[in-house]
Amino acid sequence: MRLPLAIGMSLLAAASFATVAHAKDWKTVVIGMEGAYEPYNMTDPSGKIVGFEPDLALDLCARIKVECKIIAQDWDGMIPGLNAGKFDVIMDGMSITDERKKQIDFSNPYANSPAAFLAAKDSPLAKLASNGKVFDMTKSPAETAKALEELRAALKGKTIGVQVSTTHANFADKHLKDVATIKEYKTTDERDLDLKSGRLDVELDDYPTLAAILEKPDSKDYAFVGPEFKGGDFGVGSGMGIRKSDADLTAKFNEALKAAFADGSVKKYSLKWFKIDTTP
Protein backbone atom coordinates (compact mmCIF):
# COMPACT_ATOMS: atom_id res chain seq x y z
CA MET A 1 0.00 0.00 0.00
CA ARG A 2 2.83 2.35 0.88
CA LEU A 3 4.47 2.38 -2.51
CA PRO A 4 1.41 3.22 -4.65
CA LEU A 5 0.57 5.97 -2.19
CA ALA A 6 4.06 7.42 -2.45
CA ILE A 7 3.90 7.26 -6.23
CA GLY A 8 0.49 8.88 -6.16
CA MET A 9 1.75 11.66 -3.91
CA SER A 10 4.73 12.41 -6.07
CA LEU A 11 2.57 12.39 -9.19
CA LEU A 12 0.26 14.83 -7.48
CA ALA A 13 3.20 17.01 -6.47
CA ALA A 14 4.55 16.90 -10.02
CA ALA A 15 1.11 17.78 -11.36
CA SER A 16 0.77 20.76 -9.05
CA PHE A 17 4.24 21.97 -10.00
CA ALA A 18 3.22 21.64 -13.60
CA THR A 19 0.14 23.84 -13.13
CA VAL A 20 2.15 26.48 -11.30
CA ALA A 21 4.78 26.51 -14.04
CA HIS A 22 2.17 26.80 -16.79
CA ALA A 23 -0.20 29.19 -15.06
CA LYS A 24 1.20 32.14 -16.99
CA ASP A 25 0.18 30.55 -20.27
CA TRP A 26 -3.41 31.37 -19.38
CA LYS A 27 -5.21 28.40 -20.92
CA THR A 28 -8.16 28.97 -18.64
CA VAL A 29 -9.23 32.12 -16.84
CA VAL A 30 -11.74 31.96 -14.00
CA ILE A 31 -14.03 34.97 -13.77
CA GLY A 32 -15.88 35.77 -10.56
CA MET A 33 -19.20 37.60 -10.60
CA GLU A 34 -22.11 37.86 -8.24
CA GLY A 35 -24.80 36.35 -10.42
CA ALA A 36 -27.21 38.76 -8.72
CA TYR A 37 -26.48 42.21 -10.13
CA GLU A 38 -29.02 42.44 -12.88
CA PRO A 39 -28.51 43.20 -15.75
CA TYR A 40 -24.71 43.13 -15.42
CA ASN A 41 -24.93 39.50 -14.41
CA MET A 42 -27.71 37.35 -13.04
CA THR A 43 -28.53 33.72 -12.50
CA ASP A 44 -31.18 32.30 -14.83
CA PRO A 45 -33.66 29.65 -13.64
CA SER A 46 -31.34 26.85 -14.77
CA GLY A 47 -28.54 28.19 -12.58
CA LYS A 48 -26.47 29.62 -15.43
CA ILE A 49 -24.99 33.10 -15.04
CA VAL A 50 -26.15 35.34 -17.88
CA GLY A 51 -26.15 39.05 -18.61
CA PHE A 52 -23.99 41.83 -20.01
CA GLU A 53 -20.78 40.74 -18.34
CA PRO A 54 -20.99 37.01 -19.22
CA ASP A 55 -21.58 37.97 -22.88
CA LEU A 56 -18.68 40.40 -22.84
CA ALA A 57 -16.42 37.97 -20.95
CA LEU A 58 -16.94 35.17 -23.46
CA ASP A 59 -16.32 37.60 -26.32
CA LEU A 60 -13.07 38.89 -24.80
CA CYS A 61 -11.87 35.40 -23.90
CA ALA A 62 -12.41 34.26 -27.48
CA ARG A 63 -10.32 37.22 -28.65
CA ILE A 64 -7.37 36.35 -26.41
CA LYS A 65 -7.89 32.63 -27.05
CA VAL A 66 -8.36 31.39 -23.52
CA GLU A 67 -11.11 29.27 -22.08
CA CYS A 68 -13.14 31.21 -19.56
CA LYS A 69 -15.04 29.79 -16.65
CA ILE A 70 -17.57 31.96 -14.85
CA ILE A 71 -18.16 31.32 -11.17
CA ALA A 72 -20.50 32.95 -8.66
CA GLN A 73 -18.96 34.85 -5.78
CA ASP A 74 -20.58 37.13 -3.20
CA TRP A 75 -19.97 40.85 -3.70
CA ASP A 76 -19.04 40.92 -0.08
CA GLY A 77 -15.51 39.44 -0.25
CA MET A 78 -14.97 39.83 -3.98
CA ILE A 79 -11.52 41.48 -3.83
CA PRO A 80 -10.15 39.25 -1.03
CA GLY A 81 -11.36 36.27 -3.11
CA LEU A 82 -9.44 37.53 -6.14
CA ASN A 83 -6.26 38.15 -4.16
CA ALA A 84 -6.58 34.74 -2.51
CA GLY A 85 -6.55 33.17 -5.99
CA LYS A 86 -10.08 31.77 -5.98
CA PHE A 87 -10.53 33.27 -9.45
CA ASP A 88 -8.50 35.43 -11.81
CA VAL A 89 -10.82 38.25 -12.85
CA ILE A 90 -13.65 40.20 -11.23
CA MET A 91 -16.47 41.36 -13.49
CA ASP A 92 -19.30 42.63 -11.35
CA GLY A 93 -20.08 46.19 -12.31
CA MET A 94 -17.12 47.12 -10.12
CA SER A 95 -16.31 50.81 -10.39
CA ILE A 96 -12.67 51.70 -10.78
CA THR A 97 -11.77 53.68 -7.65
CA ASP A 98 -8.48 54.78 -6.11
CA GLU A 99 -9.28 52.87 -2.93
CA ARG A 100 -9.68 49.60 -4.85
CA LYS A 101 -6.63 50.34 -7.01
CA LYS A 102 -4.49 50.03 -3.90
CA GLN A 103 -5.42 46.35 -3.75
CA ILE A 104 -5.93 45.26 -7.36
CA ASP A 105 -5.39 46.40 -10.93
CA PHE A 106 -8.17 47.25 -13.33
CA SER A 107 -8.55 46.88 -17.07
CA ASN A 108 -9.81 49.91 -18.96
CA PRO A 109 -13.47 50.63 -18.18
CA TYR A 110 -16.03 48.69 -20.22
CA ALA A 111 -19.21 50.34 -18.93
CA ASN A 112 -20.08 53.67 -17.43
CA SER A 113 -23.61 54.54 -16.44
CA PRO A 114 -24.89 57.16 -14.04
CA ALA A 115 -25.99 56.55 -10.47
CA ALA A 116 -29.71 57.09 -10.00
CA PHE A 117 -32.45 57.05 -7.39
CA LEU A 118 -35.57 54.93 -7.36
CA ALA A 119 -38.64 55.54 -5.18
CA ALA A 120 -42.41 55.28 -5.11
CA LYS A 121 -44.11 57.30 -7.86
CA ASP A 122 -45.97 59.44 -5.31
CA SER A 123 -42.77 60.25 -3.39
CA PRO A 124 -42.02 63.99 -3.02
CA LEU A 125 -38.71 63.25 -4.72
CA ALA A 126 -40.54 62.68 -7.99
CA LYS A 127 -41.16 66.43 -8.27
CA LEU A 128 -37.60 67.78 -8.11
CA ALA A 129 -36.43 70.33 -10.68
CA SER A 130 -33.37 68.20 -11.37
CA ASN A 131 -35.48 65.10 -12.13
CA GLY A 132 -33.92 62.87 -14.76
CA LYS A 133 -30.99 65.21 -15.43
CA VAL A 134 -27.48 63.77 -15.42
CA PHE A 135 -24.80 65.71 -13.52
CA ASP A 136 -21.13 65.08 -14.12
CA MET A 137 -19.51 65.59 -10.73
CA THR A 138 -16.08 66.14 -12.25
CA LYS A 139 -16.99 68.39 -15.17
CA SER A 140 -19.72 70.56 -13.68
CA PRO A 141 -19.22 70.86 -9.92
CA ALA A 142 -21.39 73.96 -9.57
CA GLU A 143 -24.52 72.39 -11.08
CA THR A 144 -23.83 69.19 -9.12
CA ALA A 145 -23.70 71.14 -5.86
CA LYS A 146 -27.02 72.81 -6.66
CA ALA A 147 -28.72 69.51 -7.53
CA LEU A 148 -27.29 67.94 -4.38
CA GLU A 149 -28.67 70.73 -2.23
CA GLU A 150 -32.16 70.24 -3.64
CA LEU A 151 -31.84 66.48 -3.26
CA ARG A 152 -30.71 66.73 0.35
CA ALA A 153 -33.72 68.85 1.25
CA ALA A 154 -36.07 66.31 -0.34
CA LEU A 155 -34.39 63.34 1.37
CA LYS A 156 -34.69 64.76 4.87
CA GLY A 157 -35.85 62.00 7.24
CA LYS A 158 -36.01 59.36 4.50
CA THR A 159 -34.39 55.92 4.55
CA ILE A 160 -32.04 55.15 1.66
CA GLY A 161 -30.97 51.62 0.71
CA VAL A 162 -27.59 50.88 -0.90
CA GLN A 163 -25.40 47.84 -1.40
CA VAL A 164 -22.50 47.62 1.04
CA SER A 165 -19.07 48.89 -0.05
CA THR A 166 -20.16 50.31 -3.38
CA THR A 167 -19.48 53.76 -4.81
CA HIS A 168 -23.18 54.39 -4.09
CA ALA A 169 -22.74 53.55 -0.41
CA ASN A 170 -19.73 55.88 -0.24
CA PHE A 171 -21.66 58.66 -1.99
CA ALA A 172 -24.57 58.27 0.45
CA ASP A 173 -22.18 58.30 3.41
CA LYS A 174 -20.45 61.39 2.14
CA HIS A 175 -23.37 63.54 1.01
CA LEU A 176 -26.61 62.27 2.55
CA LYS A 177 -25.81 60.71 5.91
CA ASP A 178 -26.62 63.80 7.97
CA VAL A 179 -30.12 64.22 6.53
CA ALA A 180 -31.25 60.64 5.87
CA THR A 181 -30.86 57.15 7.30
CA ILE A 182 -28.59 54.95 5.18
CA LYS A 183 -29.18 51.20 5.23
CA GLU A 184 -26.57 48.91 3.71
CA TYR A 185 -27.43 45.51 2.24
CA LYS A 186 -25.25 42.56 1.31
CA THR A 187 -27.24 41.95 -1.90
CA THR A 188 -29.51 44.08 -4.08
CA ASP A 189 -32.27 41.46 -3.81
CA GLU A 190 -32.50 41.94 -0.05
CA ARG A 191 -32.60 45.69 -0.53
CA ASP A 192 -35.41 45.45 -3.11
CA LEU A 193 -37.48 43.35 -0.69
CA ASP A 194 -37.16 46.10 1.90
CA LEU A 195 -38.19 48.75 -0.62
CA LYS A 196 -41.33 46.83 -1.46
CA SER A 197 -42.18 46.13 2.19
CA GLY A 198 -41.86 49.85 2.88
CA ARG A 199 -38.81 49.75 5.15
CA LEU A 200 -36.97 51.83 2.55
CA ASP A 201 -38.10 55.05 0.89
CA VAL A 202 -35.39 55.35 -1.74
CA GLU A 203 -32.79 53.19 -3.45
CA LEU A 204 -29.52 54.51 -4.83
CA ASP A 205 -27.77 52.35 -7.41
CA ASP A 206 -26.47 52.09 -10.91
CA TYR A 207 -29.02 53.21 -13.54
CA PRO A 208 -29.29 49.91 -15.49
CA THR A 209 -29.62 47.91 -12.27
CA LEU A 210 -32.54 50.06 -11.13
CA ALA A 211 -34.05 49.91 -14.63
CA ALA A 212 -34.03 46.11 -14.35
CA ILE A 213 -35.95 46.35 -11.06
CA LEU A 214 -38.56 48.58 -12.68
CA GLU A 215 -39.17 45.95 -15.34
CA LYS A 216 -40.36 43.42 -12.79
CA PRO A 217 -44.13 42.93 -12.60
CA ASP A 218 -44.58 44.15 -8.99
CA SER A 219 -42.69 47.41 -9.60
CA LYS A 220 -45.48 49.43 -11.21
CA ASP A 221 -45.68 51.87 -8.26
CA TYR A 222 -42.00 52.81 -8.52
CA ALA A 223 -40.04 55.11 -10.80
CA PHE A 224 -36.74 56.90 -11.22
CA VAL A 225 -36.73 60.07 -9.12
CA GLY A 226 -34.37 63.00 -8.69
CA PRO A 227 -31.06 63.72 -10.37
CA GLU A 228 -28.49 61.27 -11.74
CA PHE A 229 -24.78 61.56 -11.10
CA LYS A 230 -21.62 60.37 -12.77
CA GLY A 231 -17.87 61.02 -12.57
CA GLY A 232 -16.41 62.29 -9.29
CA ASP A 233 -17.25 59.91 -6.47
CA PHE A 234 -18.49 57.35 -8.97
CA GLY A 235 -15.20 57.00 -10.82
CA VAL A 236 -14.63 56.45 -14.52
CA GLY A 237 -16.80 53.34 -14.85
CA SER A 238 -16.62 49.61 -14.30
CA GLY A 239 -13.54 47.60 -15.21
CA MET A 240 -12.25 44.08 -14.87
CA GLY A 241 -10.49 43.60 -11.54
CA ILE A 242 -7.25 41.64 -11.92
CA ARG A 243 -4.48 40.75 -9.46
CA LYS A 244 -1.53 43.16 -9.49
CA SER A 245 0.79 40.21 -10.15
CA ASP A 246 -1.04 39.38 -13.40
CA ALA A 247 -0.15 42.48 -15.40
CA ASP A 248 0.17 40.30 -18.52
CA LEU A 249 -3.49 39.31 -18.23
CA THR A 250 -4.57 42.94 -17.75
CA ALA A 251 -2.66 43.89 -20.91
CA LYS A 252 -4.29 41.07 -22.87
CA PHE A 253 -7.79 42.04 -21.81
CA ASN A 254 -7.08 45.70 -22.56
CA GLU A 255 -6.10 44.73 -26.10
CA ALA A 256 -9.24 42.62 -26.46
CA LEU A 257 -11.41 45.43 -25.05
CA LYS A 258 -9.93 47.88 -27.54
CA ALA A 259 -10.87 45.56 -30.39
CA ALA A 260 -14.32 44.93 -28.95
CA PHE A 261 -14.97 48.67 -28.68
CA ALA A 262 -13.68 49.22 -32.21
CA ASP A 263 -16.01 46.70 -33.88
CA GLY A 264 -19.03 47.77 -31.82
CA SER A 265 -19.35 44.54 -29.84
CA VAL A 266 -19.40 46.23 -26.42
CA LYS A 267 -22.10 48.61 -27.59
CA LYS A 268 -24.10 45.67 -28.96
CA TYR A 269 -24.07 43.87 -25.58
CA SER A 270 -24.85 47.12 -23.80
CA LEU A 271 -27.92 47.76 -25.93
CA LYS A 272 -29.00 44.14 -25.57
CA TRP A 273 -28.88 44.09 -21.75
CA PHE A 274 -29.10 47.73 -20.63
CA LYS A 275 -31.30 49.07 -23.46
CA ILE A 276 -28.98 52.10 -23.41
CA ASP A 277 -25.44 52.65 -24.57
CA THR A 278 -23.18 52.50 -21.52
CA THR A 279 -19.84 52.42 -23.31
CA PRO A 280 -17.50 54.83 -21.53
Partner: protein
Amino acid sequence: MMSLDFIWQTFLRLLAALPLTIEVWFLSIVFGGFVAAGVTWMRVSGILPLSLFARAFIFIFRGSPLLIQLFVIYYGLPSLPFVRHSFLWTFLREPFYCAVLSLALCTAGYTSEIFRGALAAVPRGQVEAARACGMSGFLLFRRIILPIAMRQGLPAYSTEIISMTKATALVSMVTLWDVLNVALKIRNDTLITYTPLLVAGAIYFVLNYILARFFVWLEFVVSPHLRRRLH
Protein backbone atom coordinates in the same frame (compact mmCIF):
# COMPACT_ATOMS: atom_id res chain seq x y z
CA MET B 1 3.26 51.19 13.27
CA MET B 2 0.43 51.48 10.82
CA SER B 3 -1.05 48.06 11.40
CA LEU B 4 -1.13 48.46 15.20
CA ASP B 5 -2.92 51.73 14.66
CA PHE B 6 -5.35 49.99 12.29
CA ILE B 7 -6.07 47.32 14.91
CA TRP B 8 -6.70 50.02 17.50
CA GLN B 9 -9.01 52.01 15.18
CA THR B 10 -10.87 48.83 14.26
CA PHE B 11 -11.19 47.93 17.93
CA LEU B 12 -12.68 51.35 18.74
CA ARG B 13 -15.21 51.13 15.90
CA LEU B 14 -16.22 47.62 16.91
CA LEU B 15 -16.49 48.68 20.54
CA ALA B 16 -18.94 51.38 19.47
CA ALA B 17 -21.11 48.61 17.99
CA LEU B 18 -20.92 46.47 21.13
CA PRO B 19 -23.90 48.14 22.88
CA LEU B 20 -26.20 47.00 20.05
CA THR B 21 -24.90 43.42 20.23
CA ILE B 22 -25.41 43.41 24.00
CA GLU B 23 -28.86 44.99 23.74
CA VAL B 24 -30.05 42.37 21.24
CA TRP B 25 -28.52 39.64 23.37
CA PHE B 26 -29.95 40.87 26.67
CA LEU B 27 -33.48 41.53 25.41
CA SER B 28 -33.71 38.20 23.62
CA ILE B 29 -32.48 36.34 26.71
CA VAL B 30 -35.06 38.10 28.91
CA PHE B 31 -38.01 37.67 26.52
CA GLY B 32 -36.83 34.20 25.55
CA GLY B 33 -36.70 33.29 29.25
CA PHE B 34 -40.31 34.36 29.80
CA VAL B 35 -41.51 32.54 26.69
CA ALA B 36 -39.52 29.46 27.72
CA ALA B 37 -41.08 29.49 31.20
CA GLY B 38 -44.53 29.62 29.61
CA VAL B 39 -43.73 26.87 27.13
CA THR B 40 -42.26 24.66 29.88
CA TRP B 41 -45.37 25.20 31.96
CA MET B 42 -47.57 24.15 29.00
CA ARG B 43 -45.31 21.20 28.25
CA VAL B 44 -45.58 19.75 31.79
CA SER B 45 -49.14 20.93 32.46
CA GLY B 46 -50.63 17.55 31.62
CA ILE B 47 -53.28 19.28 29.48
CA LEU B 48 -53.02 17.68 26.05
CA PRO B 49 -53.64 20.68 23.71
CA LEU B 50 -51.20 22.87 25.68
CA SER B 51 -48.59 20.15 25.79
CA LEU B 52 -48.97 19.53 22.05
CA PHE B 53 -48.61 23.25 21.34
CA ALA B 54 -45.44 23.37 23.45
CA ARG B 55 -44.02 20.35 21.64
CA ALA B 56 -44.74 21.93 18.27
CA PHE B 57 -43.13 25.21 19.37
CA ILE B 58 -39.98 23.43 20.51
CA PHE B 59 -39.93 21.27 17.39
CA ILE B 60 -40.09 24.28 15.08
CA PHE B 61 -37.72 26.67 16.84
CA ARG B 62 -35.17 24.08 17.86
CA GLY B 63 -35.40 22.18 14.61
CA SER B 64 -34.74 24.91 12.04
CA PRO B 65 -31.72 27.18 11.54
CA LEU B 66 -31.90 30.49 13.34
CA LEU B 67 -30.92 32.28 10.14
CA ILE B 68 -34.01 30.93 8.39
CA GLN B 69 -36.21 32.00 11.29
CA LEU B 70 -34.67 35.47 11.16
CA PHE B 71 -35.22 35.75 7.40
CA VAL B 72 -38.79 34.50 7.64
CA ILE B 73 -39.56 37.11 10.28
CA TYR B 74 -37.64 39.97 8.64
CA TYR B 75 -38.31 39.36 4.94
CA GLY B 76 -41.13 36.83 4.97
CA LEU B 77 -43.74 38.41 7.24
CA PRO B 78 -43.80 41.80 5.44
CA SER B 79 -44.66 40.06 2.19
CA LEU B 80 -48.09 39.39 3.70
CA PRO B 81 -50.09 42.59 3.19
CA PHE B 82 -52.15 42.21 6.38
CA VAL B 83 -48.95 42.21 8.46
CA ARG B 84 -47.91 45.50 6.86
CA HIS B 85 -51.28 47.05 7.61
CA SER B 86 -51.55 45.88 11.20
CA PHE B 87 -50.25 47.48 14.38
CA LEU B 88 -47.49 44.82 14.35
CA TRP B 89 -45.82 46.65 11.50
CA THR B 90 -44.66 49.42 13.85
CA PHE B 91 -42.40 46.79 15.42
CA LEU B 92 -41.68 44.49 12.49
CA ARG B 93 -40.66 47.45 10.35
CA GLU B 94 -37.59 47.82 12.54
CA PRO B 95 -34.83 45.27 12.01
CA PHE B 96 -33.98 45.56 15.72
CA TYR B 97 -37.31 44.17 16.89
CA CYS B 98 -37.28 41.46 14.20
CA ALA B 99 -33.86 40.39 15.43
CA VAL B 100 -34.89 40.34 19.10
CA LEU B 101 -38.10 38.48 18.27
CA SER B 102 -36.44 35.73 16.28
CA LEU B 103 -33.54 35.29 18.72
CA ALA B 104 -35.97 35.22 21.66
CA LEU B 105 -38.23 32.61 20.07
CA CYS B 106 -35.28 30.47 19.06
CA THR B 107 -33.62 30.53 22.45
CA ALA B 108 -37.01 29.89 24.08
CA GLY B 109 -37.17 26.60 22.19
CA TYR B 110 -33.88 25.43 23.66
CA THR B 111 -34.34 27.00 27.08
CA SER B 112 -37.73 25.44 27.71
CA GLU B 113 -36.18 22.01 27.20
CA ILE B 114 -33.42 22.97 29.65
CA PHE B 115 -36.10 24.07 32.13
CA ARG B 116 -38.03 20.85 31.63
CA GLY B 117 -34.91 18.76 32.17
CA ALA B 118 -34.12 20.72 35.31
CA LEU B 119 -37.63 20.15 36.67
CA ALA B 120 -37.45 16.45 35.88
CA ALA B 121 -34.16 16.21 37.74
CA VAL B 122 -35.69 17.31 41.06
CA PRO B 123 -35.53 14.16 43.21
CA ARG B 124 -38.94 12.64 43.89
CA GLY B 125 -37.96 12.06 47.52
CA GLN B 126 -37.45 15.77 48.15
CA VAL B 127 -40.90 16.58 46.80
CA GLU B 128 -42.43 13.81 48.92
CA ALA B 129 -40.62 15.03 52.01
CA ALA B 130 -41.93 18.54 51.41
CA ARG B 131 -45.46 17.24 51.00
CA ALA B 132 -45.04 15.30 54.25
CA CYS B 133 -44.17 18.60 55.93
CA GLY B 134 -47.45 20.01 54.68
CA MET B 135 -46.20 22.04 51.69
CA SER B 136 -48.23 22.07 48.52
CA GLY B 137 -48.98 24.09 45.42
CA PHE B 138 -47.03 27.27 44.92
CA LEU B 139 -45.24 27.04 48.27
CA LEU B 140 -43.82 23.63 47.32
CA PHE B 141 -42.79 24.99 43.92
CA ARG B 142 -41.20 28.13 45.33
CA ARG B 143 -39.38 26.64 48.29
CA ILE B 144 -38.35 23.19 47.07
CA ILE B 145 -38.76 22.49 43.33
CA LEU B 146 -37.60 25.84 41.91
CA PRO B 147 -34.36 26.19 43.90
CA ILE B 148 -33.29 22.63 43.15
CA ALA B 149 -34.31 22.88 39.49
CA MET B 150 -32.46 26.19 39.04
CA ARG B 151 -29.31 24.66 40.44
CA GLN B 152 -29.65 21.62 38.19
CA GLY B 153 -30.38 23.66 35.10
CA LEU B 154 -27.67 26.26 35.57
CA PRO B 155 -24.79 24.58 33.69
CA ALA B 156 -26.94 23.86 30.62
CA TYR B 157 -28.57 27.29 30.78
CA SER B 158 -25.22 29.06 30.98
CA THR B 159 -24.14 27.24 27.83
CA GLU B 160 -27.28 28.46 26.08
CA ILE B 161 -26.64 32.07 27.16
CA ILE B 162 -23.06 31.91 25.92
CA SER B 163 -24.12 30.44 22.60
CA MET B 164 -26.65 33.28 22.31
CA THR B 165 -23.90 35.92 22.32
CA LYS B 166 -22.53 34.20 19.26
CA ALA B 167 -25.97 33.85 17.71
CA THR B 168 -26.38 37.64 17.85
CA ALA B 169 -23.79 37.83 15.06
CA LEU B 170 -26.55 36.69 12.69
CA VAL B 171 -28.38 40.00 13.07
CA SER B 172 -25.72 41.47 10.79
CA MET B 173 -27.72 39.82 7.99
CA VAL B 174 -30.68 42.15 8.52
CA THR B 175 -28.81 45.48 8.24
CA LEU B 176 -28.16 45.94 11.98
CA TRP B 177 -24.77 47.44 12.83
CA ASP B 178 -23.68 44.88 15.38
CA VAL B 179 -20.03 44.00 16.04
CA LEU B 180 -19.80 41.52 13.17
CA ASN B 181 -21.48 43.76 10.61
CA VAL B 182 -19.16 46.67 11.40
CA ALA B 183 -16.22 44.27 11.10
CA LEU B 184 -17.51 43.10 7.69
CA LYS B 185 -17.90 46.70 6.56
CA ILE B 186 -14.38 47.62 7.64
CA ARG B 187 -13.18 44.49 5.87
CA ASN B 188 -14.98 45.42 2.68
CA ASP B 189 -14.03 49.08 2.72
CA THR B 190 -10.36 48.65 3.57
CA LEU B 191 -9.97 45.24 1.91
CA ILE B 192 -7.87 44.16 4.87
CA THR B 193 -9.17 40.64 5.07
CA TYR B 194 -8.44 39.10 8.42
CA THR B 195 -7.68 41.80 10.98
CA PRO B 196 -11.25 43.11 11.47
CA LEU B 197 -12.59 39.57 11.80
CA LEU B 198 -9.92 38.64 14.34
CA VAL B 199 -10.58 41.76 16.40
CA ALA B 200 -14.32 41.01 16.31
CA GLY B 201 -13.62 37.41 17.32
CA ALA B 202 -11.53 38.63 20.25
CA ILE B 203 -14.38 40.88 21.43
CA TYR B 204 -16.85 37.97 21.39
CA PHE B 205 -14.25 35.85 23.15
CA VAL B 206 -13.76 38.33 26.00
CA LEU B 207 -17.52 38.77 26.31
CA ASN B 208 -18.04 35.04 26.63
CA TYR B 209 -15.11 34.65 29.01
CA ILE B 210 -16.71 37.18 31.36
CA LEU B 211 -20.04 35.34 31.09
CA ALA B 212 -18.44 31.96 31.72
CA ARG B 213 -16.66 33.27 34.84
CA PHE B 214 -19.92 34.80 36.05
CA PHE B 215 -21.72 31.46 35.78
CA VAL B 216 -18.90 29.64 37.55
CA TRP B 217 -19.29 32.13 40.38
CA LEU B 218 -23.08 31.79 40.34
CA GLU B 219 -22.87 28.01 40.53
CA PHE B 220 -20.54 28.34 43.48
CA VAL B 221 -22.96 30.66 45.26
CA VAL B 222 -26.03 28.49 44.75
CA SER B 223 -24.45 25.22 45.78
CA PRO B 224 -23.15 25.77 49.34
CA HIS B 225 -23.93 22.15 50.17
CA LEU B 226 -21.29 20.94 47.72
CA ARG B 227 -18.46 22.99 49.20
CA ARG B 228 -15.95 21.44 51.54
CA ARG B 229 -16.59 22.51 55.10
CA LEU B 230 -13.77 24.29 56.83
CA HIS B 231 -14.33 22.54 60.15
